[in-house]
Symmetry: C2
Amino acid sequence: MQGSQFRLEHGKKVRLANMDPNETGSLHDREEAEPNIERLKERLEALQNMLYAEKKQSVLFVIQGMDCSGKDGVVKRALGGLHPQGFQVHSFRTPTEEEEAHDFLWRAHRIVPAKGMIGAFIRSYYEDVLITRTHKWISEAEVKKRLKHINRFEKLLESSGVKIVKIFLHISKDFQLAKLRNRLTDETKRWKFDKNDLVERESWSAYEEAYEDVFKQCSTESAPWYVVPANHRWYRDLAVLQIAVDALESMRLAYPASDPELDQLLEQLQE
Amino acid sequence: MQGSQFRLEHGKKVRLANMDPNETGSLHDREEAEPNIERLKERLEALQNMLYAEKKQSVLFVIQGMDCSGKDGVVKRALGGLHPQGFQVHSFRTPTEEEEAHDFLWRAHRIVPAKGMIGAFIRSYYEDVLITRTHKWISEAEVKKRLKHINRFEKLLESSGVKIVKIFLHISKDFQLAKLRNRLTDETKRWKFDKNDLVERESWSAYEEAYEDVFKQCSTESAPWYVVPANHRWYRDLAVLQIAVDALESMRLAYPASDPELDQLLEQLQE
């Protein structure tokens, strides 16, 4: 597997309806994927240590997907091995009054990961061209403007060393229904059930279209979108780990150059 | 093992020099501890899920200890299994200009975990009665005031449902020296070496005394201090996990009461 196989090209229109959310490549089950998942997790942790030590760049994962696509789950199961000290997760919810009183990128900007850190946005500023567009809370002209603002914003972050990795978790509508039922029957998950999810579900196609436009406009060379088949959670985890490892490997991370003074210090300490 | 065995009584003077940092209870090695570590991790994750679902209380781990005591390591190895979405780690460093322009508790207050969340402070507001006192940057009168402010501050947090768990990782001075040497020889750790650690090391006894006073004044019934032997990392992890699980179990967490309307919804979804 290569992370790049899930990557979308800039300017190219994709149709989510033509992409199989059940896809598992040449693999058949979790057991078969497990050794690779473990290997990638270890590699990711080693890369994070270098990122943290170097303190010159950072990584931002943007995680999007329909309700029940496993956005929370992937953060735990694929990225949960990261050192918590260097990993910050933010869930985007309905904006607060203070957030509403600013431009739509303001609240995202203040929580961008600092140098050395890895951040994950569960939902993100992309909601401002997804939910808002689907429900026609903003005009099409405003959508166009926002898509440009997003591209410029991401360019700004890249210019200070933020590697942006945008992942769409792709599930089917049937799969969502099964998960919603499961939430209602499992006591440990029932609190997650939101009646509004059933309302949003009725706008499935409108959401798909809004996503497809986001992919076309905002999957750039340096900050691409990846569509990850997510009906099989183990394949989702494997794919996201592969994408993450590829992203960090492309950053040419290195431990800081060693201070020669430290060698003298070591000699003193060993006396 | 019980978390309470590491717990300090309020008003009682302990001497760190009399507490064995090599202690491992009735256990002999990591292998023997591993099954319990795994069991406690799973239990802690289940409790975190309930805390997050309930959204009425929160947990704050305050992690203190000399340089090389394993503060970062314990967050990864004992608490690293927590869901990253509900777990926020903050390292306290030299205050910024903005932080300096406020009272010493200001910067801690703004990052206290919200309801449903678990937070860990690596170092904390306690540094303001430790490093400052050891180097005589503040007067003894000021230290006394600050200790009281800390107790009142913790009472305020408790009143809004924050469970505060304060852990001191106890190592020996020899162990620190071995770890400092190791940092200098291991390329993946060398960046962590700070020449200043050698300076701080010379104030070992003064730090111990400052800690002993903190324990006596601030180990309260509701927010106790725990001294965890940390020369053996596996025993440290086991003890911290046990303390964490005990703390969350004492909170009487519960999933939110089920909305009967959801049962009707489930029937509709199953048609």
